[in-house]
Amino acid sequence: MSTTDAAVRRHRAGAAAPPPKPIHAEHHALPAAGFLAPFLLLYLLFIIGPALYGLLMSFFDTSLVRPGLGSFAGFGNYAEALQSSDFWSSLWHTVWFTILTTPPLIVVAFGLALLADRVRYGRWFFRLAFFAPYILPSAVVALIWIFIYTPGLGLLETALGKIGITSPNWLGDPNWAMPSLAITTLWWTLGFNFVLYLAGLQEIPRDLYEASSMDGATPLQQIRRITIPMLGRTTTLVAVLQVIASLKVFDQMYIMTSGGPNFATRSILELVYDEGFTNFRTGYAAALSMLFFIVVLAVSAVWFALVRRQEKEV
């Protein structure tokens, strides 16, 4: 009511009318706050609150089995973490996992999306087939792949044996355990990136391709010069989501290898679990998770800078 009336009045008043006042939120402030309140309350109670308590805990020798915060430790937990080889090796394992999974998850998803986009009949089937693993819970995926990777009896070893390749001890060899987990993760989470890319592909105007083919561009050049640049924002989104999700990896390690063999696949979050819950040292675990938070913050800052630059270009 207010918008049209004001606009009509301005029109009648003529060109000398003052610039229209912005729609002020006075009338909408209270309902807006009301709608946001439940979420804000839960967010404060379950995310912000515990995070701040965790920060507090990291300065104390808090124990899981003793009430209260325990004795004050200052930066002792942080010093212990930074000097602990367990912390640095877990961090490295997490980074290694991220390196192993992120490029394939971008490239393979992009390739499959390209192919699925060009399929004429049955596109729904390919979308379903590639996305379906993503809806499985992590425990189911882990159990399926434990069977596939079983030494001696597993599907992978039998199948590779039939074509004459001796497979390594997938989950038992420290050199192969992380790549095995990466392959499992690739199969599992490919669908999400695939769907993002497919949507992005369908947004590229077809006349760009037509114009370029009239100018004599080969399909490969079209992909390189049109598709990939136009998908720039999707790629940035996929890459950052993927990196952050890989940094937070826990389920696959916990279920499939328990951080083994010989701690070769223990990720940083699993170290937090081991120290905090198995060892009862929640103060030290809180310090570990704060250090991990700094790492994730750094990655997010990089993304933020990238996105801001991209927004300015558009």
């Binding site: 020798d61 124990s63 899981l64 089995v65 003793r66 079983t150 030494p151 001696g152 009896l153 001890n169 989950l171 038992g172 060899d173 420290p174 499939m256 290898t257 328990s258 083994g260 063999p261 010989n262 701690f263 081991d274 819950f277 198995t278 060892n279 009862f280 040292r281 929640t282």
Partner: protein, 441 residues
């Protein structure tokens, strides 16, 4: 009267649904938000028995339910090891503990030190016929803290040797009475494995290595303690590994896999399958897998883990399952009575439990002719006397960081990924770090 608008209808429907929802889940919501249990006459029991002995436990619980229809027993089985103890600790800390729970003897002391268990008074126990003279004295004494009782031992579960009677017959390893010959030296042991391998055309024996830190620790500890070796002292604050003895055991274990007698890459389930398929003549694990092989109708028997180094003193790695009552948020005599009733019922059904492979600690059954007639379970009853428990310490016990650290290092030797010297150095390093960390308890 204004006609019913869509907005009013939606509002009304939302209100009705909310009302029904709140009424329906009010009971769980209230019990979830408050401390205490849902209803009177209920009993919560937590255990960590999956696999073969899980089946037996379910049988025993069903018998209890049939005999006590007035009690609604709710039994929860959680994954063995850390996941079980973290949940038990947190549930007790959050004032929502189960009424009765299973605890390994080696973990029970840590729970007591963390003030998470109720003391069991002897007069309460006596009311239900549970007295110290009816329980195996080794297990009972080991469970006392400052002379006070906190746990009722249900069994002792040692590390044992399974052998395929058909394969051993063909390999000439059975004596005239059909019993396995004594493998009481490393040479006799290796010889037997080679003979079995010749019959199976695959492996002589098998032990679980991958993704399993408990089994490598157990086979190492059995041999290491036969040599008289210790790992921790002073409640876990000192590492006292004897390098010479440990290297001797690790080198021997390495020779089994590198010599092709045992598979070097096999996980828990794979090891079970290898023995069940007759691809190995011997299988080394805790006795609880007996039900698996009985169901598979494999011709097998079980005996004590071989005494390779012990001479006249037998030693083997073992632990005991005990029944404990976690610290309750309020004193409820009726609840305590129900809990003790369940504990007595479990002890009375020691026969079913022993059929699952464990060595009973309930003397009225253990000393009976019935148990002696139960073969192959009674073959290894002597293991309970030579049982070597994990050293005490806040980070030690079944499924604890102590076993994860040691088991990981030993598994690398079995899996031919590290030399015994490197694995030992790694183990000592990590244990020293744990031993010098201040106890959070």
């Amino acid at each position: 009267m204004t006609p019913l608008s869509r907005r009013t209808l939606l509002r009304g429907a939302l209100g009705a649904v909310a009302g029904v929802g709140l009424a329906g889940c009010s009971a769980p919501v209230i019990s979830g938000l408050s401390t205490g249990h849902e209803k009177a006459g209920s009993l919560d029991y937590w255990n960590l028995f999956g696999g073969g002995d899980g089946v037996r436990m379910t049988q025993m619980l069903d018998t209890f339910r049939a005999a006590n229809p007035q009690i609604s027993l709710s039994a929860v089985t959680l994954a063995w090891g850390n996941p079980y103890y973290t949940k038990l600790s947190l549930a007790t800390l959050g004032d929502k503990p189960p009424d009765v729970a299973i605890s390994h003897l080696t973990r029970m002391k840590t729970l007591v030190a963390s003030n998470l268990l109720e003391e069991l008074h002897l007069d309460d126990l006596a009311r239900y016929g549970i007295t110290p003279d009816k329980l195996s004295s080794t297990a009972w004494q080991a469970g006392l803290v400052d002379g006070k009782a906190y746990a009722i031992p249900l069994d002792t579960h040692p590390f044992v040797m399974f052998y395929n009677t058909d394969i051993c017959q063909k390999a000439g390893l059975l004596d005239t009475a059909g019993q396995l010959i004594a493998l009481d030296s490393p040479e006799k042991f290796t010889d037997a494995m080679q003979k079995a391998k010749a019959v199976t055309n695959a492996y002589g024996g098998v032990v679980s290595i991958n993704g399993d830190t408990a089994t490598p620790w157990r086979i190492f500890q059995s041999l290491y303690s036969q040599l008289g070796g210790q790992t921790l002292a002073d409640d876990g604050t000192k590492v006292v590994i004897d390098d010479a003895k440990a290297t001797q055991v690790l080198t021997f274990l390495q020779s089994l896999t590198s010599g092709g007698l045992f598979p070097a890459d096999i996980d828990y389930q794979g090891a079970i399958a290898t023995f069940a398929n007759g691809q190995a003549g011997f299988y080394f694990q805790g006795e609880w897998e007996i039900s698996t092989y009985q169901t598979a109708k494999l011709p097998f028997s079980m005996t004590l883990f071989p005494n390779l180094y012990g001479g006249s003193t037998y030693a083997v790695q073992a632990d005991s399952h005990t029944l404990v009552i976690p610290k309750q948020p309020n004193d409820d005599a009726a609840r305590l009575d129900r809990s003790l009733l369940l504990i007595k019922s479990m002890l009375d059904q020691s026969k079913t439990w022993a059929e699952g492979g464990h060595v009973p600690t309930w003397l009225p059954f253990r000393d009976s002719a019935e148990y002696k007639a139960l073969t192959p379970q009674s073959n290894y009853a002597a293991a309970a006397d030579g049982a070597v428990y994990d050293p005490p310490g806040w980070y030690s016990g079944s499924g604890s960081n102590f076993e994860i650290v040691t088991g990981s290092a030993i598994a690398t030797v079995l899996g031919a990924q590290q030399s015994p010297a490197d694995a030992l150095a790694q183990m000592r390093d990590q244990l020293t770090h744990l031993s010098t960390t201040a106890s959070p308890i």
